[in-house]
Symmetry: C2
Subunit: 218 residues, 2 copies
DNA sequence: CGATCGGTTGAGTCATCTCAACAGAGGTGG
DNA sequence: CCACCTCTGTTGAGATGACTCAACCGATCG
């Protein structure tokens, strides 16, 4: 974990968001290498984090090694919010990442009256929303639908310029989707064979049939 | 949907909870028959609900009929909180139920300053916590582990007196656990054969080996 | 140029699903 | 009060979607 300078002028890159603004103005900028841990399962919940560059995943490891990826976070998004006093998930950098970190209590002191509460409230609702979407994906969808939904979510979040980038490995996708890497790979191959998407490389794709994709994603 | 009298003196039966108190003091008491709808998917989110008697489930129905049960709510528990402006899930009575209903704006007017916000905030965090637990269950657990986890959760929530009651059908359990009724039934039979639990009837069981159950539930 | 890493593909296995029969608990009406 | 019906849950047998294990491939790196 390497420390960089604080109080830098960082703009949230993805949306205007009061909480992201606060964090970027008050926090310490940190750099994490790919797969480096940002916080651990069971750690107390006391910081807020803003992704500036790269991507972050939150994961839960079961005692026998099975892994569940709870969520991916991209530049401009806040993570580290959890309902309990301790983290149920750990956070790691999916790829080399820059993250702004700030202690919740510090933000509380600086923020005007209810601004922080409202901002955290909004972010928590967003968290719940995403978790519910994820739940629907895991509960009743087929492997193909899961992969299609995942790609759909990616392009929804990142305005699809020339090709959408997959920040994460097949293993990360598999652990998010509740599948194996082989199944993920086969489904991607299948979607490409059906001319729904096209992969220019294993980490970069373009949608060829948006209609079909959103139909598959339900 | 039958209407009964308002402003009755209802004590939340399961925990002291500011929000439940508020709702029970201000709300209208309603009775719902088994499987009756309390609110629908896509309905605007504008009421808060407190279970007084019976049980309630929230479910999402996919276009082809696949169903996912998101959560079950028991007496003393608040439901109807969702992150978006519209309900992603519908709510129905699992068994004949009594529910207190109140308009959010009405509670807001009566509650002192931030009391309502804090209460809703707390309830939403609880909602997120449960959804995360559910997510872990659906992502990587086997059928047997899912069923064991489910039973474990039940006895954790309801202090296990003489036998724990299953308020819901096998279909409801299956749709919650992402399984079929046959698989749920087989797993229950198996758990009973292994002397982990004992069923006195199809809806009432007792734990015989708590150690084994919590090990299976992970 | 070999080694390593991430990803793909193939072949066989297995957990769960599907379809179908059956069993018990109520409920109803003759 | 008994015969019948319906509804819910259980059990069995066979099908199948996803998993496991293993080989292979291409890119990257020393």
């Amino acid at each position: 974990m390497s420390l960089a300078h604080a109080f830098e002028d960082l703009k949230p890159q993805r949306e205007s968001d009061a909480l992201a603004d606060l964090i970027s103005r008050m926090g310490v900028r940190m750099a994490y290498a790919k797969d480096e841990e940002i916080y651990a399962q069971e750690d107390p919940v006391e910081f807020l984090y803003l992704v500036v560059q790269g991507a972050v995943r939150t994961t839960h490891l079961m005692s026998d090694g099975r892994r569940q990826v709870a969520e991916f976070y991209y530049p401009g998004e806040v993570f580290g919010l959890e309902p309990g006093p301790d983290h149920r998930f750990s956070a790691e950098a999916v790829a080399d990442a820059i993250v702004v970190v700030v202690k919740r209590s510090a933000v509380a002191a600086f923020a005007d009256d209810g601004a922080l509460e409202r901002a955290i409230w909004r972010a928590t609702r967003r968290e719940l929303d995403r978790t519910q979407t994820h739940l629907m994906l895991l509960g009743r969808k087929t492997a193909c639908e899961r992969v299609a939904s995942f790609l759909q979510t990616l392009i929804d979040r990142a305005p699809a310029q020339e090709g959408c980038e997959l920040a994460m490995s097949r293993q990360d996708m598999a652990d998010y989707l509740g599948l194996t890497i082989e199944t993920v790979s086969r489904m991607l191959t299948q979607l490409q064979a059906e001319r729904v998407v096209e992969f220019k490389s294993s980490r970069r794709f373009q949608v060829r049939d948006p209609e079909a994709l959103s139909r598959l994603a339900e």
